[in-house]
Symmetry: C2
Subunit: 199 residues, 2 copies
């Protein structure tokens, strides 16, 4: 439909997640009208990320060196490992400033429907990290959905013989949320996990 | 939040229209996990478009040569010019295969709120194209909204002394649409423009 290179760009943009044909077209025309310097910067950021980013040899998080920033930080508590599905979960948890241990990024969750089994996740690497007994608590922070729960249960059973403390993040009402809009499972979990108010 | 180059990419992606911080993050992680060849192709498409695409010297449409494909085509009727706001409107009209004339891309519509006046649009170039009297009909296909209507009225008044036929695309119910969901202005226009059924 468009002149060759414009159509090429629309096609390439349309392959990105969450970018439909209309957005791809809108972005392409935005690019056409933007400053060449900005476009070169975007193109450069794309290739840089492929060239420079690797995955941390310890935890599997994104890293620019052999180890990620968390694993490099000597102030982090090596006795606690928080297991997450993806690097973006690390960022979400870091934002809370609540956790001072280290992470282990699985690279997904067990999902028979999508053909992801335990052998496709970085579980062997996790067990190797637990082998020397330095870790005393494992926080299973996989997503609170079917796949995440299955993965957490699988891991909990697998590490049980090691005798370490295994925890799971609390489920409940989101802070600032509205009780009436909470789904029944979340509301049920919030009841189960109710805390005694100390007043 | 992220390691340098990942954050750079998220920032650059977040500048694109319709890409919020969450989508930028999702796209960045998609890029991280994609084949380097695909990423290089996207980066290349971005720079190519800036290097190779220019705007047609006649109509202002996107072009890879001095003139766009429509203006280069000797079979197109030079007596009819269809005036549109953006190159994507050309593509939308081309898709209908209804129009065999040429285009004139204004590069926007008159919008006092956004500070776009007639002098910011390619109106001088349009008047120059009409000067030799070869054009007999001007179809004003600017958007059927406030700015598009204002631009069409402005152009119609401006070319009135030239005595050519000036038309505007019909407003009415979208084909395949549902009468009950049509807004009242569209429905009103559909009544105004009602046609005699020849049965």
């Amino acid at each position: 439909m468009y002149e060759g290179v414009v159509q090429d760009l629309i096609d390439e943009l349309g392959r990105l997640p969450g970018v439909g044909p209309k957005s791809a077209q809108r972005i392409a025309f935005h690019i056409l009208q933007s400053d060449p310097v900005d476009v070169r910067r975007l193109a450069h950021a794309l290739t840089e990320v492929k060239e420079k980013v690797r995955f941390c040899a310890i935890c599997g998080n994104v890293a620019q060196d052999e180890h990620c920033r968390v694993c490099q930080d000597p102030r982090r508590d090596i006795a606690v490992i928080c297991v997450v599905e993806e690097p973006k979960d690390v960022v979400a948890i870091e934002r809370t400033r609540e956790f001072r241990g280290r992470y282990h990024v699985l690279g997904g969750a067990i999902s028979p429907i999508e053909g992801v089994g335990p052998e496709d996740l970085r579980i062997r690497e996790l067990l190797a990290r637990l082998a020397d007994g330095a870790v005393t608590e494992l926080i299973l922070a996989t997503d609170p959905n079917l796949e995440g729960e299955a993965t957490a249960t699988y891991l909990a059973r697998m590490v049980k013989p090691m005798g370490l403390k295994v925890t799971r993040l609390a489920s409940g009402l989101p802070v600032g949320g509205d009780l009436e809009y909470a789904d029944e499972v979340t509301l049920g979990r919030a009841f189960e996990g109710r805390r005694l108010l100390d007043v």
